[in-house]
C-alpha cells in the first residue's frame, strides 16, 4: 500500500522488513507514525528510495522514472541592478589596475636580458654542433631563470598560456625563425661573420618586441576594453 504523499512523489511504499533501523534523521527519532492509517509503519522518504535498482519483491510495479522529482535544481541566477552591475565593473577595473601596478614592478633589465637570450639562441644556430647544443641549452635555462625572477618579483606567471596581447607573438616567432635560418645559412654555408651580426639584430628586435608587448598589455588593461580587442 502506498501513502498519498508517496503516490505524489512517485515513490513506492517500503515494507517494514526493508527498514530495520529507525530514521534517526527525523526529529522524533524515526518513531512510527501512529496517526497513519496503515498502522504507522515507517516510510522511507522519496529521496532515500534507491533509483534504478530494479524491482524489489513485493513492491508494486515500477514507477516510471519520469514521475520521480529531479534532484535539487539550483536557483536561477538573478541579474543585478544597473547600479550593482556598474559597481562590479568598477571592481573589475580596479583589479586590472592592481595587476598593471604589479607588472610595473618587474625588473627594468627584463627586456634587455630577454633580447640577449634570444640573440644567444639565434647565434647558436650558426655554430658547430657542440656549441649549438650548448647555446640552445644555455639560452633555454636563461629564459627559465628570467621567467622565475619575474614571477618572484611580480607574482605573475609567464608562460605560453598568457593569452593577451597575441598580436606580438607572430612577430616574435617570425624574427626568431628568419634570423635563426639566416644564422644557420651564414654559419654553415660560408659567411661566419654574418652569424653574430644576425644574432645582434635578432636580440635587439626581440628586446623591442618584448617592450612593445608590455606596453600593449598595459594599454589593454588600463582601457575599458576587457579582452575582446587584441592589440
Amino acid at each position: 500500500m502506498a501513502t498519498l504523499s508517496d503516490m505524489e512523489n512517485g515513490a513506492p511504499h517500503v515494507s517494514p522488513s526493508d527498514v530495520s533501523q529507525p530514521d534517526v534523521s527525523q526529529p522524533d527519532g524515526g518513531r512510527p507514525d501512529v496517526s497513519h492509517p496503515d498502522g504507522g509503519r515507517p516510510v522511507v522518504p522519496a529521496a532515500e528510495v534507491p533509483m534504478g535498482g530494479g524491482p524489489r519483491a513485493g513492491l508494486p510495479a515500477a514507477v516510471p522514472p519520469a514521475a520521480v522529482p529531479p534532484a535539487a535544481v539550483p536557483p536561477a541566477a538573478v541579474p543585478p541592478t544597473a547600479e550593482a552591475a556598474r559597481a562590479a565593473l568598477e571592481a573589475v577595473a580596479e583589479s586590472k589596475a592592481l595587476l598593471v601596478a604589479r607588472m610595473r614592478r618587474g625588473p627594468r633589465w627584463y627586456n634587455p636580458v630577454y633580447g640577449a637570450l634570444c640573440g644567444l639562441l639565434v647565434l647558436s644556430f650558426g655554430l658547430p654542433k657542440p656549441w649549438f647544443v650548448g647555446g640552445v641549452v644555455l639560452s633555454a635555462i636563461g629564459l627559465g631563470v628570467l621567467a622565475g625572477t619575474y614571477r618572484k618579483r611580480t607574482g605573475i606567471v609567464l608562460g605560453a598560456g598568457n593569452p593577451r596581447p597575441r598580436g606580438i607573438y607572430p612577430w616574435l616567432i617570425a624574427v626568431l625563425v628568419v634570423s635563426g635560418g639566416a644564422s644557420y645559412l651564414d654559419g654553415h654555408h660560408g659567411f661566419p661573420l654574418g652569424v653574430p651580426l644576425v644574432a645582434v639584430v635578432a636580440g635587439v628586435a626581440c628586446s623591442v618586441l618584448s617592450r612593445r608587448y608590455d606596453a600593449a598589455l598595459f594599454a589593454l588593461l588600463e582601457s575599458d576594453d576587457d579582452g575582446e580587442a587584441r592589440p
Binding site: 552591475a85 565593473l89 583589479s95 586590472k96 592592481l98 605573475i156 606567471v157 598560456g161 579582452g227 575582446e228
Partner: protein
C-alpha cells in the same frame, strides 16, 4: 560577445580574482591574496568554488622547500568571464538582463 550572467563569478571577491587572472597566464596565491586583502582561508574557499566550477586551475609546486601555489584561468573560465562582463555592460547600458 554575447553576455551571459554567471552567478559563480559574480560574487565580488571571485569577480576580482577572475578579472586579475584573465589577462595573464597565472598568478601566485600570495599576489591575489594581497591584492584582495583577504586571509589565506577566505581566498582558498573562493578558489575552490571557482575550481569546482571548472573556471580556474590551481597548481602547487615545491621550490626551495616551500610550496608555491598559483592559479590560472581555464578556457571555460575565460569564456564565462568574458560573457559575464558583457552581461554586466548590457545591464549598465540598459538593454540586457
Amino acid at each position: 560577445m554575447t553576455g551571459r550572467f554567471d552567478e559563480v563569478i559574480h560574487a565580488p571577491q571571485r569577480l576580482r580574482i577572475v578579472a586579475m587572472l584573465a589577462p595573464v597566464a597565472g598568478l601566485e596565491f600570495a599576489t591575489v591574496r594581497d591584492a584582495l586583502e583577504v586571509s589565506d582561508s577566505v581566498l582558498s574557499k573562493h578558489l575552490k568554488v571557482l575550481e569546482d566550477a571548472g573556471y580556474i586551475k590551481v597548481q602547487k609546486a615545491k621550490r626551495s622547500g616551500r610550496t608555491w601555489t598559483s592559479a590560472s584561468l581555464t578556457r571555460a573560465g575565460r569564456t564565462a568571464y568574458d560573457g559575464h562582463v558583457a552581461a554586466l555592460r548590457a545591464i549598465v547600458a540598459g538593454d540586457g538582463s
